[in-house]
Symmetry: C2
DNA sequence: ACTTAACCTAGTAAATCAGTCAACTATAAA
DNA sequence: TTTATAGTTGACTGATTTACTAGGTTAAGT
């Protein structure tokens, strides 16, 4: 279990997707605009999320991404694990013989805590996050603030 | 709140220190041997831990490191925060003006979760970890396995 | 056909990780 | 009072990861 800005981007994007894809697919361009994340970087993250069966890509006009499961069935640990390289078992890759001939001692110490963190994050679903008032407020504010920007951009492009 | 192998090293080392420094200071050399962590890397980590007032360095022969507080008063979040660069508020460093003129929206989404993780890790003390049976077992096994190695190394050096 | 938007590949500057090397200072034991 | 111990500091390095850019191809709708 690793916790970096990469995972934060993924969780934020998934939260944005969950909030906006109730009726129709959401384009990465929209998410990138709302959350100020690089579009190409988002593409990379969603490539992993798609391969992990967390989202479904819909091609063509009117397309975008949708969640593949109900928000209650997608937890934070899964999202982070999907985009982060899985933390290799360091040194003793499963062999458990890095110190003398005994089982890999160093990592056993950390394992308990690491498992707990994972278990904790597994217990929080996208649905749980969505249900929180502060997040709803922020999302609504983003919609309001960014909607004009998105429409303006589309108008400009249409006119070109 | 970031979670990498760097933090894992720090927690593991602090756990080792807590387990062995009841009576006398523990040298980084011993910790490095037991936990198979680079000595010089440990020195860097403990330099930060010392500046964060989590450990006390005792110089000279018989010296080493000791915890500065009871194990119940040292929590995991503090350890990780001491060695990791604090995650900067990305883009809008406290200014809260990264999107339009409004408050920094993107990061607000993550803040709630990040705070929760921090709160969760704050609730686990070194004492809590020490009290766990599996960790005691592993630590005991390490003592048994590594003690000969340490003594052997000292004998060799004395003879040189 | 043309547009849309997902999908894919390769590359890159910057940051971080994990570690080395080499010096220095304070302290306790000889 | 040497001398060995052990902490302290800083500079430096290769490898990896991050975050991002550029440029394509493919599938689907109008």
């Amino acid at each position: 279990m690793r916790l970096t800005t990469k995972g934060r981007y993924a969780v934020t994007a998934m939260l944005d997707l969950a909030f906006h894809s109730q009726h129709a697919p959401v384009t990465l361009t929209d998410i990138a605009t709302r959350q100020t994340i690089s579009l190409s970087y988002l593409e990379q993250l969603f490539s992993r999320l798609r391969r992990a069966d967390m989202v479904i890509g819909v091609r063509g006009p009117g397309g975008g991404y949708q969640l593949s499961k109900p928000v209650a069935d997608i937890n934070i640990a899964d999202i982070i694990r999907a985009v982060d390289e899985q933390i290799d078992s360091t040194k003793c890759g499963g062999e458990a013989n890095c110190q003398n001939h005994k089982a890999c001692l160093t990592h056993d110490l950390w394992t308990g805590l690491s498992d707990q963190i994972h278990e904790y994050l597994s217990g929080i679903s996208l649905g749980d996050l969505l249900a929180r008032k502060p997040i709803q407020d922020v999302a609504s504010r983003q919609d309001h603030d960014v909607q004009q920007m998105i429409e303006f951009r589309r108008d400009v492009i249409v006119r070109m």
